[in-house]
Symmetry: C2
Subunit: 318 residues, 2 copies
């Protein structure tokens, strides 16, 4: 028999799942629309039958557990709680519902924690005990590992670095507050900064010919690569505010590395160089030059499935 | 035989030490001037002989270890490193030097981590796994416990919340940067805020009759208790910026409680009430109403010795 773990990533639109072996190989995978299931019970029925289909493909597969990444997930309780981007309202006992269909260990956490677990078990943090993964997408998610263990905190919701306030009375955040890090240091935040700079700067820029609603971090990174002054300045300001937030996290837990993952991190050196320069100049003296800023070694394409599966592989390996 | 632990607190001026039993009772104690020992070797000789004197008082005492709180101490390495407030320059291998004189386990950490350990082993955090202690004195120190373990981080220097930047380009900090939390939310920070407010406000205040160099957080708290408008506003502004910093720590680790210790915390309700009100209004939605703001249950007078001893008692009890 060959032990496999099912990794499941529940997104607002799509649910992606796959079987993952102990080396981090995705053996098979599938996807269906989360939005097709306004009732979570029906979602769970489909998910369970899809996982069973993958298992049936090879006789030697033995399912060791199911790891799930989902928005507003609570690791301690195995629940999804009041997720604004899902149809399932209130507190959803997801782990329990799944266990009734497939009786194996089930672990649930948010996608950023899953990404950090993926980095630790299968990626660039294999030999690290203290590190943080920042997922820079629509928002800014974070997974924090201290002394080899994921930080879940008293509530199970720890690791919300996207909601550190970095600009008092700054940009409006979806959480109802203002100036949260994710309103600046995320793919969406970069777009907002470009829009703001277009109002402040006089320079010509091809970005001015794109409707703001169609602007993306990818287009901005491409413009920055072509030395567009608005895009370059937006990149540098985004990097500086990300660096500012990172230093406030460093004085807390003194990690060995910060891994950047997600859409904005795809900008590569355009982002990493100014972040590293900011840290070199501004980091707190006791932690100066002690923290590496690294790209994630988990690929974007199967990262979510891998990270979710790593939740269970981590338990099996310890 | 009765197991005892020596707790030692090395300050810039005085060194305090004592023998502590497993219930957190300080059985005997002493003190000498740190400044009398420009050479650390001589300091260690005196410390060892003083501890031996305390042990000699009762035949049944058996020394189980020595716990030490000291500025700029590195737990991983057992060192004091580049401490600006001590005469011993460079990297001082304190734990090794002491072990050569008394061969028992020796643990070294900074005073705020020691305070947190004291709170966990002997104080209000006995049943908690996730909490933070903030020491609000000349500076702001912090000891962070996550899942029952002290956070030391990759460098051994983790837990420097006093150096979170809360006001970009704000007050000058001793660390060489600007706007660190401790320049606002500490006994010293409160004094600075009063001085600033005296320049901004027109209200009369008895605090205007005190030379700024003689102002203390105690005098300000007394004035606030008498409804002095400058002192009251300074208290509220200090509480708000402390609350701001606390929320940025909460989104990181989602603790069950924050304990406030030290000179500024002595202001009691004058500080605690507005801090709690700030959190009630501004805390991140997933952590709202999940964090208690509590006074430390360790007394100021023997807290340093108790906390240092707790470093060893924690190891013995696990």
């Amino acid at each position: 028999m060959k032990k496999v773990v099912a990794g499941v990533d529940i997104g607002g639109t799509n649910t992606v799942f796959g079987l993952v072996d102990e080396n981090g190989k995705v053996l098979s995978h599938g996807t269906f629309k989360t939005t097709d299931y306004p009732k979570v019970e029906n979602f769970v029925t489909t998910l369970a039958s899809e996982i069973k289909k993958l298992l049936a493909a090879k006789k030697e597969y033995e399912l060791a557990g199911i790891g799930i990444g989902a928005p507003d997930a609570n690791y301690h309780r195995g629940t999804i709680e009041h997720a604004p981007n899902l149809a399932w309202k209130g507190i959803v006992p997801l782990a329990d519902l799944i266990k009734k269909k497939i009786n194996v260990p089930v672990a649930v956490t948010n996608d950023a924690n899953a990404a950090a677990m993926g980095e630790m078990i299968f990626g660039g943090a294999k030999k690290m005990k203290d590190f943080i993964v920042l997922t820079l997408g629509t928002g800014l998610g974070s997974g924090i590992v201290i002394d080899g263990k994921m930080v879940y905190g008293h509530t199970g919701f720890a690791g919300e670095l996207g909601h550190m306030t970095v600009v008092p009375n700054g940009r409006e955040c979806g959480c109802g507050r203002k100036g949260c890090l994710e309103t600046y240091a995320s793919a969406t935040g970069l777009v907002k900064t470009v829009i703001q700079l277009m109002s402040e700067m006089r320079d010509e820029s091809p970005l001015r010919d794109i409707p703001p609603s169609k602007l993306t971090s990818k287009k901005i990174a491409e413009a920055a690569a072509n030395n567009d002054p608005v895009a370059v300045r937006a990149m540098n300001e985004t990097a500086a505010i990300l660096g500012f937030g990172i230093i406030n996290a460093i004085v807390f837990s003194s990690p060995e590395a910060i891994f950047l993952f997600g859409g904005l991190a795809q900008a590569g050196d355009l982002l990493f160089k100014p972040v590293r320069a900011y840290l070199k100049k501004n980091n707190y003296v006791l932690m100066k030059d002690t923290v590496k800023i690294l790209p994630s070694e988990i690929s974007e394409s199967n990262g979510a499935v891998l990270g979710s599966a790593a939740l269970i592989w981590n338990d099996l390996k310890n």
